[in-house]
Subunit: 616 residues, 2 copies
């Protein structure tokens, strides 16, 4: 009776080599009267495409066109690369290339690690190795295994202008950046990770496209002026013709999962995905990813970056939520960094109290509807009832390092004892932890913002934009030039530094924290109901008891500048001392100690204690 | 530990005469360095106001300033009326007047009718009587009681430019239009309604302000360019400084309830209230209205107009909803009108099938996520599980009449038998019914769009805008001039027409439908689980069985052009025939008939049958 939306989930966008050897092209151009496929190589050929339902145009070539370069000619007026291009060998302005999808996987299937076991290592392919490629990154997998992380998160790899970019200026969401090695290299990287037992999280950007090489407007109403984002018009997720726009991005997400075997997607800045439909794009995305995971017999995770502090993101659809698997909790970072450094610029001004830090460990969000002076409005929603595995936390990430004037890391601001304290606060928390590449050995390289745009006006605008952003934070001085190659090169990390000196000591500590998180059941379980906190505001000490069945770990985190003397707040008992950063070195075997309830104990400044209760 | 938003619910905006005889002024002007109160009468006086928290300025006069005219002087640069003005005696550009709130109510309290018993009569104060005032409207209460409606819905009364306006160009949300009689007259009207047992619903506009006399931007960031509405920038419900903006509109809603004893608010075009906060403005509004109702020992209702077809509006907060009490269901109207008239312009093209009509009675929304050709996108969410009392339905309202080229009513398009069919479809439905003034006796006056702006450019723009709107509907011809007084006068209704001729017959029918809805328990109960439908698509007949406990009513609605012969679909039995529009006149006593299951019955075209099963 009623016309259903006709797009099936197996519908393909872009160029695809079919199993029978033919090549199929499909593109959405609803406002165009005719579209031609222009094949550039081998030989020049222009073929009219057939209009299909819903504004799509399609064409099937009776041959395998793998490697052919092509563009679409729109109403004989403009000629553009494919919005769903898989490969842009000559950059964002050049023709698209047909890519065959016939990779021979060595790993039997996906990774299979549950989200609650993720210890995420975020990296930028360009800055992770000297070569800056996916293949070079494969060579670093032994280092990741040595550290003990279980998941790798790649900053966006979708084709961006030039050879250097954080990745958030991508304009071909289906293509893998050529300077990183292109689509085959990504598959090799994912395969190698899976063989090593690592999950792969991919950062994808569904809130905007980059400013250079974005030709989507020539094809159709991908954008709307009803919603305004920090990057201009919002993506048209809820207006007229939004169906194929949603489909484009949904198919993109599914393509990473199905074709590239990505285990989880990190969804960039989801609070700027404006959608007033009854079914928010994010809800549809989570549903589709989960269904695809079921079909593949894997759990696929949708992980959202969001500045909204809104539990709707991770509540189930039945309770009116989007049903995403987890979201970043920026409050956790801000309260921690503010406590460690006393920093008050910008949003850090919102976290002056020790109680903010305590709340972030105990309840998730610090702002749960209270007034935020930085935002000049109420912020957030109550998060106490949300399971901890729905939150991802960190003490550093690409934004929190890179969006500082010099791209300086936490290690530029605090000493080794505080770095250990930060690491323990993250890795012994009940949340899913994320590390930013190199933080594990206090990498000295900064992570400044870098681009390599081709448009001089845009370059000037980016330079101005960064300065303005820093001015808002009252940062004085010149940021590194984003367009300079030197800025990019300065970001390259050197994990070999982990072998000696203070970096080696920190690296050993991170390894030990990750090992203990994996092996002590009270630290592995991500149920908040099993955590009990006692905070001493004067001494700036947080005591935590974490339990799993009849096992218990007791933690103490000392944030004070001075030694604190305070009562031990939990039940008396005998404990194995796994960590005590006030003592030099790591004990080869955990010594036993006795603690009595309310016994006064001395806590060294910036120290961490991890005790495991002994069975009687 | 954390600073709470300091605005208490008893916080006052505007000018208020305190119980001790002093007069308090408070205004929000967060970007102004100083604000002066300028008293124009009696005598000129300019007094500096004191800055208070959150960008407010205040001042207390040691006297009762009732009747004084005043403006605010902002940074010595501009002088403006009070955004929270209670009275604008010289129109939207003139000074505000201090109003004492000391009305002596005759009715003991609010009306107290539950929403499920509402039969709403929507009226425009200007067009309802020759005088066009609230006091004149009081004189029409006996007519409303004669008809039998239980609630009156006033189109917006907030001060708008000039003397004639539908009300959606209001710019002083707290002030009652002077040409209607001002605030005292509204209180007299509400009091008279309550004395007569009628509830009063007030239409309020929280999605935009009118284009003339809107000085809010001079006071603060009431608007945001992050969201775009059909009327320009969206109201700032979720950006920086949105707290006091939300407060302004929340206080407005509470003021109507507390000070004017309004029983329910009709919230205009709520789908254009863009708010990405975790707690949507509508959720906060519903919560605050309900809490205020509890404090007053009354249930206060929040009723939303919404084009979103989104059940989130009426789902409870615990299920992620806004918790509003009901929302208009436009699909119900469109499917009905399309079926009666065959009209295909604009959105009517979305309802060509008889099944659309059936679904609107059975499930609420016609569009529950299906593709809408008119909107060129998926539309709506599943509504089957939503209780019928959460939907308000009609066969005519101010929009559906007034937004036609000539403002023509349904009675201009169809004959008496179809008008009766439409009335029965609405009033015997399980939803809350709304009548548009005069439809009950087929008022011949149109309800064209009218304004009386003072700005010639704006007048020209409105004329153009209306023409464009009609062009989108492929309507040819000239609409009446919105600015002309004649257009306004043509809209005046004459309920005395109900006393004779075909209007009298229709009026008697409406009375009978309302009487039966009130008195037959299966028609009074608004539980959809108690309704069972059988539709004959070929004959275009809908059979409905509605039950309450062991009582049952059987209804038949014949939409076909021809007589239909079809089997009676429910259990055999003896029935009292309350309505049979195929027979002339209304029976003084309902005759009894016998029906056998599957017995072939003859149904006359455009007829309605209402049977009540007799107890054995």
């Amino acid at each position: 009776m009623m016309r259903e939306i006709s797009l099936s989930s197996s519908f393909d966008l872009g160029a695809a080599v079919l199993s029978d050897g033919r090549t199929h092209f499909r593109v959405w151009a609803p406002r165009r009267r005719h579209v031609d496929l222009h094949l550039h190589s081998p030989g020049q050929q222009t073929l009219p495409m057939s209009p299909a339902n819903d504004g799509y145009f399609e064409l099937t070539l009776n041959r395998d066109a793998t490697g052919a370069r092509y563009t679409y000619r729109l109403d004989d007026a403009v000629e553009r690369p494919d919005p769903a291009s898989r490969l842009q060998e000559s950059g964002v302005h050049g023709p698209s290339t047909v890519v065959a999808e016939n990779f021979e996987w060595k790993a039997s299937a996906w990774c299979g690690i549950p989200l609650s076991s993720y210890v995420i290592y975020e990296l930028h392919i360009g800055a992770f190795t000297a070569e800056g490629t996916l293949d070079a990154a494969i060579g670093r997998i032994p280092y990741l295994l040595e550290l003990g992380v279980t998941a790798v998160e790649l900053m966006p790899v979708a084709q961006f202008p030039g050879d250097r970019n954080w990745g958030y200026d991508g304009v071909y969401p289906f293509a893998v950046q050529t300077s990183y090695g292109g689509p085959e290299a990504l598959k090799r990287f994912v395969d190698a990770c899976h063989l090593a037992g690592l999950a792969v999280v991919l950062d994808v950007v569904y809130n905007h496209l980059g400013p250079e090489g974005n030709y989507l407007r020539d094809f159709g109403p991908y954008f709307t002026n009803r919603h305004h984002t920090p990057w201009g018009d919002g993506i048209n997720f809820d207006g007229a013709d939004s169906g194929p726009v949603r489909h484009f991005f949904l198919q993109n997400a599914l393509n990473w999962v199905t074709e590239f075997r990505i285990d989880a997607l990190r969804l960039d800045a989801t609070d700027t995905i404006y959608d007033f439909s009854p079914k928010h794009f994010l809800a549809e995305l989570a549903e589709k990813l989960h269904l695809r995971g079921e079909a593949l017999n894997r759990r696929i995770y949708a992980l959202a970056e969001s500045a909204a502090n809104d539990v709707r993101w991770v509540r189930s659809a039945g309770l009116g939520g989007f049903g995403l698997d987890a979201q970043w909790n920026d409050d956790f970072h801000h309260a921690l960094r503010q406590t460690l450094t006393g920093e008050r610029r910008g949003y850090f001004a919102d976290y002056p109290d020790f109680q903010h830090l305590v709340r972030s460990l105990e309840e998730g969000f610090v702002y749960q509807g209270e007034y935020s002076a930085y935002r000049r409005r109420a912020h957030g929603s109550p998060s106490r009832e949300i399971p901890p595995e729905r939150f991802i936390v960190c003490c550093q990430n690409h934004d929190q390092v890179g969006n500082r004037l010099k791209g300086d890391r936490l290690g530029h601001a605090v000493d080794l004892s505080r770095l250990k304290l930060a690491a323990a606060w993250v890795l012994l928390s009940p949340y899913v932890p994320l590390l930013f590449m190199g933080e594990d050995y206090n990498e000295p390289a900064p992570f400044p913002y870098f681009v390599s745009h081709g448009d001089p006006d845009l370059v000037a605008a980016v330079r101005e934009g960064r300065k303005k952003e820093f001015a808002a934070f009252a940062w004085e001085g010149e940021p590194p030039d984003p367009q300079s190659e030197g800025t990019y090169l300065s970001a390259k990390i050197q994990p070999d530094l982990r072998h000696s000196g203070p970096p080696a000591e920190l690296f050993r500590f991170y390894r030990e924290l990750i090992r203990l998180r994996k092996h002590l059941p009270p630290l592995t379980s991500l149920s908040r109901r099993e955590i009990h906190l006692e905070a001493d505001e004067a001494g700036r000490v947080v005591w935590a008891s974490r339990r799993f069945q009849n096992q218990e770990c007791v933690l103490a985190f000392a944030f004070g500048e001075n030694e604190a003397r305070m009562p031990y707040p939990f039940a008396s008992g005998r404990f194995r001392k796994h960590i005590d950063t006030s003592k030099p070195g790591t004990p080869s075997e955990a010594p036993e100690i006795q603690l009595l309830r309310n016994e006064i104990v001395t806590v060294a400044p910036h120290s961490v204690l991890l005790l495991e209760r002994c069975f009687e």
